[in-house]
């Protein structure tokens, strides 16, 4: 176990010893800061909870893209630079090496989302404070922080599914460009495709991956697919997740490395 943690530390080193990671981190913080400063100039009585939510809405999709980039590079990058050879010829099974990469990726997502949450609460708390009037849609008896945490949690599930898909493409096709491209297409074009597909009155439509995106609407009382329960979408995403993971491991374990 201790030894496995050393593998994860290696993967972390490969993520955080690169300038690009910290540029991403800076961008992730500058955007909400800009929104808050703009609001301070424009709004009469801004509320910290409203802006923390708004900024999360904007920046969480950016975090998805950043995590997709890291995921796409994680395996494909080792193949394209040839470093995969020296990585694999160690007394570790390929499964564990892949797992260490996946764990470091999850840690990256967690690090970024928690940083965003804390940073937006801090900045908006200091700049605005709560005005005591604003409530979240359908907040009910839930406290602000529980509502906000639920929103983050639901988004995180969706980010993990998207990033796992990018990781799978990166592993199976060894192409980071394809992994990034497909994932972002899904992210941006998913809504449009969903709108088109929902015009089709076919039962299989509900099982398409991006039809079940938008889990976070559940926090305000909605579901991704109007006439399906929340659990349905969660189950469909879980199904895709299992397939992505299984494919990644199956291919990575068996592949001949000729890079």
């Amino acid at each position: 176990m201790v030894d496995f943690i050393r593998l994860v530390r290696n993967e972390n080193m490969k993520i955080y010893r690169r300038l690009r990671t910290w540029i991403m981190f800076a961008i992730m913080l500058i955007i909400p800061l800009g929104i808050s400063l703009g609001a301070m100039a424009l709004e009469a009585d801004p509320d910290m909870w409203f802006f923390s939510y708004l900024e999360a809405e904007v920046v969480l999709s950016l975090i998805t893209i950043f995590a997709v980039i890291i995921a796409a590079d994680s395996v494909a990058g080792e193949f394209s630079t040839g470093t995969i050879k020296l990585l694999l010829i160690r007394p570790w099974s390929r499964s564990k090496i892949l797992l260490s990469k996946y764990v470091s990726l999850l840690l990256f997502m967690l690090f970024f989302t928690v940083s965003l949450l804390l940073f937006t609460l801090l900045v908006n708390g200091v700049l605005f404070g709560s005005n005591g009037e604003y409530t979240y849609p359908n907040q009910g008896s839930r406290s602000y922080i529980v509502y906000l945490l639920s929103y983050y949690g639901l988004n995180l599930i969706q980010i993990i599914v998207t990033v796992t898909m990018a990781f799978m493409i990166s592993t199976v096709f060894r192409s980071s460009a394809l992994a990034i491209g497909l994932s972002i297409f899904l992210l941006l074009g998913g809504n449009m495709m969903a709108a088109l597909l929902s015009l089709l009155d076919k039962p299989w439509v509900d099982y398409v991956l991006f039809m079940n995106y938008g889990l976070s609407t559940y926090v305000s009382g909605g579901t991704p697919i109007p006439d399906r329960p929340f659990g349905f979408s969660l189950a469909v995403l879980a199904g895709y997740y299992v397939i992505f993971i299984a494919l990644s491991w199956y291919v990575f374990r068996r592949r001949d490395v000729a890079a």
């Binding site: 290696n10 470093t83 050879k85 020296l86 160690r90 007394p91 490395v257």
Partner: protein, 315 residues
């Protein structure tokens, strides 16, 4: 128990470090490696020689588990690379093709990365290895600022970090200048002689192998053509093949008895050291054979190689 048994065999010192048994690799219906079988004895620098495209790198990839064999078996100190991968590869240090490292990390961070993957490598060992390959001054610089020669050194450093019993180097002299090649050669010989490391080097540079190796396996088009000793002469107390130009080869052969390797037109070839050659000369003269010339005829590896591979066509 099983562990002890294997260790006993190792300390015996004669058990091969690597055994390839009927190793075959087919991709589609092309046979890349065809029924390769040979042993690498311990403590030698073992050359793996073949023209470009003959399957050297593929074989090395199978030896370190980067590629699967279609059939056959590779044992590293008795451990199967297929079924006991972790135990087998634990004893191997390798550079496969170019030493590709993480360019955005420093040399030191790269070594730390590999050191973490094997338990029991203290930081002191990293410093020691850095010193050994002569990178101390630049080890905290990013690898992207390194020259090819420095990357090669860093590659050697990561390969010997865990004191492997077997060091596999694929075309290690690629990109090195003559001084670097010489240094590497001396270093590999030192490893084999003083640390008991078995070194397996592939190359298509014949002259290089001749200087570096104790033994070479020659492959072409995925088939093993020959395994032969290089420094056989030196190991037999400085013996070499010596050609005596004589007027009557038959009479000369008769005079020397069984010592003659072969008779050629106009001369005989014997295996002899410097003093022996003088003695043989005396015996020939005493037997009434006229000796016109004496010279050593040890063929260079290049001649042997071209001879066995038929000119070294790309297989």
């Amino acid at each position: 128990m099983g562990e002890d048994l294997v260790l006993d065999l190792q300390t015996g010192g004669t058990e091969p470090v690597v055994r390839l048994l009927n190793v075959t690799k087919r991709i589609g219906n092309r046979t890349i490696i065809d029924n390769l079988t040979f042993d690498v004895p311990p403590g030698e620098v073992f050359g793996f020689l073949g023209p470009n495209g003959s399957g050297k790198t593929t074989t090395i990839r199978m030896m370190v588990g980067l590629m699967r064999m279609t059939s056959g078996e590779i044992l590293i100190r008795g451990r199967s690379i297929r079924t006991e991968y972790e135990a087998a590869v634990r004893q191997v240090g390798a550079i496969v093709e170019n030493p590709e490292m993480y360019k955005y990390l420093t040399g030191y961070q790269n070594l730390l990365h590999y050191a973490r993957m094997i338990p029991g490598i203290p930081r002191k060992r990293i410093d020691e290895v850095v010193e050994l390959v002569g990178l101390t001054a630049r080890i905290h610089d990013k690898v992207k600022t390194y020259s090819l020669g420095m990357r090669q050194r860093l590659g050697v450093a990561q390969a010997i970090l865990h004191r492997p019993a077997l060091l596999i180097l694929d075309e290690p002299t690629n990109g090195l200048d003559p001084a670097g090649i010489r240094e590497l050669r001396d270093y590999l010989r030192h490893l084999a002689k003083h640390e008991g490391t078995t070194v397996f080097v592939s190359s298509h540079l014949l002259s290089e192998m001749e200087l570096m190796c104790d033994r070479v396996a020659i492959i072409q088009a995925g088939k093993l053509i020959d395994v032969r000793l290089i420094h056989g002469g030196a190991e037999n107390g400085g013996k070499a093949e010596v050609l005596f130009e004589v007027d009557r080869p038959d009479a000369a052969a008769e005079a020397l008895g069984g010592a003659v390797l072969r008779a050629e037109s106009g001369g005989i070839v014997v295996s002899a050291g410097r003093e022996e050659a003088a003695d043989i000369n005396a015996r020939l003269v005493a037997a009434g054979v006229r000796v016109y010339g004496i010279r050593t005829v040890t063929k260079s590896l290049e001649d042997q190689f071209l001879e066995v591979t038929g000119g070294g066509r790309i297989g």
